[in-house]
Assembly symmetry: C2
Amino acid sequence: MARTLTAAALVPLLGSSWRRPAAGSSRSATLADALRALVVDGRLLPGTRLPSTRDLAAELELSRGSVTRAFARLDEAGYVTARTGAGTVVTLPASHRAVALPDRTDGVVDLTVAALPAPDPLLAEAVQRAARGLARHLPGLGYSAAGLPELREAVAARLTARGLATSADEVLITAGAQHALRLIMDLHVGPGDRVLVDAPGYPRTLAAIRAARARAVPIALGPRGWDAGAWADAARVAAPRLAVVVPDYQHPTGLVMNAAAREAIATTCARAGAVLVADETCSELRLDGPALPAPLGTFGAAITVGSMSKAAWAGLRIGWVRASARTIRELIAVRTAVDMASPMLEQLVALEVYKNWDAVLASRRALLRPRRTALFDALREHAPSWEVRRPTGGISAWARLPTPDATRLAATAADHDILLSPGPAFSVDGTFEHHVRLPFTLAPETTAATIATLARLAAELSGDAPEPAEPREVALAV
Amino acid sequence: MARTLTAAALVPLLGSSWRRPAAGSSRSATLADALRALVVDGRLLPGTRLPSTRDLAAELELSRGSVTRAFARLDEAGYVTARTGAGTVVTLPASHRAVALPDRTDGVVDLTVAALPAPDPLLAEAVQRAARGLARHLPGLGYSAAGLPELREAVAARLTARGLATSADEVLITAGAQHALRLIMDLHVGPGDRVLVDAPGYPRTLAAIRAARARAVPIALGPRGWDAGAWADAARVAAPRLAVVVPDYQHPTGLVMNAAAREAIATTCARAGAVLVADETCSELRLDGPALPAPLGTFGAAITVGSMSKAAWAGLRIGWVRASARTIRELIAVRTAVDMASPMLEQLVALEVYKNWDAVLASRRALLRPRRTALFDALREHAPSWEVRRPTGGISAWARLPTPDATRLAATAADHDILLSPGPAFSVDGTFEHHVRLPFTLAPETTAATIATLARLAAELSGDAPEPAEPREVALAV
């Protein structure tokens, strides 16, 4: 069994909003809803064994009958199954709407995915050139655990150009940033180790930490960003093995870490003996605002992770790790037990994409800027009571609802064919029920209708009438 | 820290041959050599913490000074490093020869990699068609966690044609068989769980089990194959969670599991509640001999894993899992925490490769048959005292040396620019010092010289004079 969750570990994930059932509902129903929400947005992975009804009831200070009824509801809906000798195990019903469909044709608006169409014709041209370049490699065996030397060079050159001097032997080519993070965790993190993360933080980072059976230690982001004092305190108390931050256009808030915080966090991690990982997946997606500070890796020893999947196209699965040459050698060895090597053609495409990298980034900005405008126009019109800071880059914003109904909103929205990431998906402890993530990657024409629907549903949930048709101006932070 | 190895867990890996130092050598030197061998062929991954010198000395019944000297030798050579608060940790020196280089140009003959050049021009043509087909997908977001529907259909159709009726929703597209196995382990296996494996078994399967912190339970293969009684006993005693077998052209022995053993093992695993995984990576590489029995999945519930990387080209990183639709849904959810999705172009190439699949397989056979002949001719000429069964398919053979010197042979061969996988790399307990794996993927002209060198080195190690130039005939099993 992949993971057994104790009652003590499960209860914080559930948050507390399920304890306030709507009129006509029961606590066993809302508990079942809360558990289902954890499964739906990936906080509980299939194969996870739930605690016994007895243990969970005791931890929740609820009757065992209520918990048993909640489990029975989940079983009936196909979200858990009782396996002989293995207790109650999370599974997925046939009706489950998979995220990350290659070509979504079911009419669903998927806000759980923040991604753009490919930069066309740049990508198609790169593929044509790569296809011709492959001929040279066909007589070889094709194994590429470290990555193609030319691509390692190109990544190193780009990092150097961005201010982080890098040589090719300090680069490992991976299948994207998630894969890179997984390899780093395989090398550095074991069960029970503490990993410092931003709160809110990127859900798949939290999933990777859970998969390693490590313990995520959340450090709250303030409205202006990272709190150096909180980092120093957490590093002292938690004795972390690793820390993961997204310094540029943090996911989901869009915040940028200032130079002083970079300096402080790098120093804190070095003193604590924690490996610091900077996820630069969105670092090249600056839309406006001041220039970014120097990369985090220039402030101290950090492993840097990046990817083409946000900055170019998610259908291109190429990312990288930048670390010391020794760490790269170690990651290569670890990688052979995970997926052996990177595809040869895909790497050649990435190499060709790099040759027109500025044009690729320009094409992303040309898409993102009007989409961001459309999102904030729609919020101003339909959801003036939501508090949202306008990011200066990246791909998503972080909205605060007037009431702590994010999970219920996500459930209701799904009934209206809108998939939404509720705030708790970005937390390790069931918090952020006041928040939802709003990517600004949707086509502008889709955005207004989607936000209008979400605002109406949220207002209904909070018991208010819908907002008046007359738009109110609100201060949206820049 | 990724893994901490107890002295009790490390000692079996070391085997016993290091206890017999050659004249002029010491036991601390041979212990260091044995530890280095574990690192070099990937049985000890970087980041692994070794036991303390005190614990290891006690377990080995050796003086602590000898163990300390062995660690000091490894530290000097760059294979371990003492980290503050973390003990002695495995690392890799700059001189480490990475496996899986994209284009090996260092003059090294690498027998640790069993792989062929690409099927040209079939692959180049498939890439050209795939590049054109990509246009249709560029307006999409590119995420493909389950795999392209057309490719899932094609894999299902091929499995069905091979006798295992499969629908598209029973297929997940992965980045190769190793990645597939890793996802299955993420779903089904936790720390301490027992996993039944063949002995000898595929090293990367053993590595995946170690990475999951599970315990591999080896079941010896007999000269004719699988022992149904031993499987039944092991299933009863070990209460395994999972079992992994390579039924067709087992790696490394090349053995084929007969129908009776398939039936027995499927039944045994079902009764024990163990998930049975059939690795069919080499199943389509039949060279001669009788037709294969029906796929293992037809004999009972089994998860089937396959890949294009052996049957087509290792530079193409596409594999798959075939399981129940429910298990596939669960694996998709697990996958989003590992590497998110498969590359779009790579999948289109795989789809095009399938359209000429018979021709691709024919091109593999056309390469493998003469290479196998060259290997066995060379063995007959240069190493008549080695016992080797001639496989009827797959890519490698399993040779028994006259003396238990495999690890020392691999070390000596490396000094002669030949990388070799010694028998213990295929074991979980340091056994098979009598064996080496010999892939028949080398160009015929390279094979004779390589085998001649290996035979000479082995003879020198065993204290014998080289074999006489006059070849002796030996019985090589068909």
